[in-house]
């Protein structure tokens, strides 16, 4: 080798270098070369030896512009790529065997390489979907006011391994990655922050957080990559950067995006970026990101971040199920749900048999069509074919002239009532609708699928309705909602009990819940009529009038219901990729969904 000369020192250098090159080639597959090139490997030091990207940068930058540095995880080598060969050879000459930044301050040995592994993509200001960074959101004066709000200098309380932290509103517990939602802190949200929400309003963003976490990061500190627990907080999550700029790394599957959060900027993590992107701050003193021309370097100083979040009450129903703890919980409970065989037995005994017995009495109570269902029916064109799945006494079959309305019901008693009223009906189960594919222009199913005892069956019923619809045809589904008291408004179901009309509070059952064994080893709670639902799967009593009862005595029959939580029906319908949700709404204690078949 020419460049090592003939002295013993040079020979030693040569030997060491050769050995290291061999290791680099074996470990990374990167070819070492004798010819000078833009790329250089440090053959005997890398992340595992405690060498940091910063140290590499600081020692190499003086020889010329660098466009990429690759630290290979778990390896004792790393790579530097200069903008030009001249800079690279200058660095080589000055550093090889001479610079003591290896393990135990040993010298590092270099080699030219043909290429560098996994060069970092050039930073192009790309953002994860839903992420917004508003620069200069607050002034320097506002920054110093906010920074003084939390003085971390002397305080050792709430200190974590890598940074200082303080909570307002609710405590975020790092052990369970969640908050104690029923244990608000004495430290309320500081009023000094209120101006932020006024300022956001000017951008038409409504946000009123009830939880604040203040983090203090010294240079060299960071936060491990994470996604904020879905069930803990709503969307969005908003963060204010004070005192220093920093690079936050966002990662989704294999895509990694470093995002610069400038000092005094406001970061809004919403939708996909909130739910599906892992974000974190690498513990280091400076951030190095490749740009179009060379490396951009941000030197960190002490940074205080204010992270504002809104506590979620209830479960998350986002579409990013892979990252959703609420979804995982639902899946788990689904596997514990009522099996098909028992579901069928339950539906037979506690739905169909009951409706057959109470058909006449039930029919007498079902006269007035609901206005929003009528609105849907009136949207159908002349000559449309409408199928009413679970038509009951047929109260929607004669509502619109010049539409062919065909009803079906699982209860023979109710189908009989509808038939006698002159409507066109047949008997079937909504899980198997005996209609050809792509036939109906419209389909309705009002208060029906909440009688199916597991989610698989409820979904099957929706699939059947979608199947019989024409492409472009629409379906309206109504199901009973758990929530009978929304926006401080009680439903007419609750208000049928006179004493519920006056009081403002939530109507809860007065007596303890009775449980009834239904089929197999399944026991279900009995709902107390005219009160708020306490369970999702339950039995609702029907008091049959004595004069209509077979034995002329007042009898109570129990009907099975699965009442729907917010978002549940929409989620179920969205599982079909050939329909699109047109409208999803709450109507008098029901969740309602209109979807259209698209293919």
């Amino acid at each position: 080798m020419d460049n090592c000369g003939k002295s013993s020192l040079s020979r030693k250098c040569d030997r060491k270098q050769k050995r290291c090159q061999h290791i680099v080639e074996k470990e990374t597959g990167i070819k070492c070369t004798l010819l000078a090139s833009k790329s250089i490997a440090i053959c005997n030091a890398g992340l595992v030896n405690g060498l940091s990207e910063e140290t590499v940068y600081q020692n190499f930058i003086e020889y010329g512009p660098i466009d990429n540095i690759t630290m290979v995880p778990g390896k004792s080598c790393c790579f530097i790529r200069f903008k030009n060969i001249e800079s690279a050879s200058r660095a080589f000459e000055n550093i090889n065997g001479k610079l003591n930044i290896g393990q135990n301050n040993k010298p590092v040995y270099l080699s030219y390489v043909e290429s560098i592994p996994n060069p970092k993509p050039i930073y192009q200001n790309k953002m994860p979907p839903g992420l917004i960074v508003i620069e200069d959101f607050i002034s320097e004066t506002e920054e110093s006011i906010l920074m003084e709000l939390c003085n971390f200098n002397e305080q050792e309380n709430g200190s974590m391994k890598h940074r200082h932290v303080k909570h307002f509103g609710y405590e975020f517990r790092y052990d369970i990655n969640n908050v104690n939602k029923d244990k608000p802190l004495e430290d309320k949200m500081p009023q000094e922050c209120d101006f932020l929400w006024e300022r956001l309003k000017l951008r038409h963003i409504e946000f009123k957080p009830d939880q604040l976490t203040v983090n203090c990061y010294k240079p060299g500190q960071g936060i491990p990559p994470h996604i904020d627990t879905h069930s803990a907080f709503e969307d969005p999550i908003i963060s204010l950067s004070l005192g220093s700029s920093v690079v936050m790394n966002f990662k989704n599957e294999n895509i990694s995006m470093p995002v610069v959060l400038p000092r005094r900027s406001l970061t809004i993590m919403s939708s996909e970026s909130r739910y599906a992107w892992i974000h974190g701050i690498t513990p280091r003193k400076l951030d190095i990101i490749p740009t179009q021309n060379d490396l951009s370097v941000i030197h960190r100083s002490t940074r205080i971040s204010y992270t504002f979040r809104k506590i979620r009450h209830g479960e998350c129903d986002c579409q990013y199920t892979q990252h959703c703890d609420s979804y995982a919980k639902r899946l788990k409970s689904k596997s514990n749900s009522i099996k098909n065989k028992e579901a069928m037995e339950l539906e037979t005994t506690h739905v169909y048999d009951v409706y057959d017995i109470i058909a006449l009495h039930f029919s007498d109570t079902r006269c007035k069509p609901w206005p929003n269902v009528l609105k849907f029916l009136h949207s159908l064109e002349v000559g449309s074919i409408l199928i009413d799945v679970g038509c009951g006494n047929g109260k929607y079959l004669g509502c619109v002239p010049n539409v062919f309305s065909l009803g079906c019901d699982r209860s023979f008693g109710l189908a009989e009532v509808a038939g006698q009223r002159g409507f066109e009906v047949f008997s079937c189960n909504c899980l198997n609708i005996p209609i050809r594919d792509n036939t109906a222009d419209g389909c309705i199913s009002i208060a029906v699928i909440h009688h199916l005892a597991n989610e698989e069956r409820r979904l099957q019923a929706i699939e059947e309705m979608a199947r019989v619809l024409k492409i472009g045809g629409r379906c309206l589904i109504y199901v009973w909602a758990t929530d009978q008291q929304r926006n401080q408004q009680k439903t007419s179901y609750l208000k049928q009990d006179r004493k519920n009309r006056k009081e403002n509070g939530v109507v809860v059952p007065e007596q303890p819940t009775e449980n009834v064994s239904v089929t197999g080893d399944i026991t279900l709670p009995v709902h107390q009529n005219r009160t708020q639902f306490q369970h999702q799967d339950l039995l609702v009593p029907w008091k049959l009038k004595a004069e209509l009862a077979p034995n002329n005595e007042e009898n109570v029959f129990l009907r099975f219901y699965h009442v729907f939580v917010e978002g549940e029906l929409e989620r179920l319908c969205s599982q079909l990729d050939y329909v699109k949700i047109v409208k999803y709404y709450y109507d008098q204690g029901n969740w309602c969904c209109i979807f259209e078949k698209t293919k």
Partner: protein, 124 residues
């Protein structure tokens, strides 16, 4: 059961049945009811029908009323034709009888005008 309904019914939900269409009709008791005629409605319904199935179904219960085997090209303006279709589609009512699956022979009873298409547990 009207013949318009019959035009849409199938037994394809049964295990082992692929098409299940059209269902054969065995009519025991057939009634005729007068229903208001709306030419616009009928001419919009016609393109949605399986026309040969309607003609055959009407045939099989002896109520064909000289329906043509092929649809006329300009039926919208042919009031006599539309009236005939109106009658066959909506005014004929099979009160009692059976629908029969063309593939398995499974019978679906019609009582009081209501076909019972409910399948047993072992049929699905």
């Amino acid at each position: 059961m009207k013949l318009l309904t019959h035009n849409m019914l199938t037994s394809k939900c049964m295990k082992g049945v692929t098409v299940g269409y059209p269902l054969k009709i065995k009519a025991v008791d057939v009634k005729e009811n007068e229903i208001d005629f709306n030419p616009d409605f009928i001419s919009r319904i016609i393109p949605k029908l399986d026309w040969p199935v309607l003609v055959k179904a009407a045939d099989s219960i002896g109520k064909n009323d000289n329906l043509p085997e092929d649809l006329l090209p300009e039926y919208e303006s042919d009031t006599d034709f539309l009236k005939k279709v109106h009658h066959v589609l909506l005014e004929i009512d099979i009160v009692n009888g059976e629908l029969i699956c063309p593939e398995t022979g499974r019978k679906f009873p019609i009582n009081n005008g209501i076909p019972n298409m409910l399948l047993n547990e072992d049929e699905v």
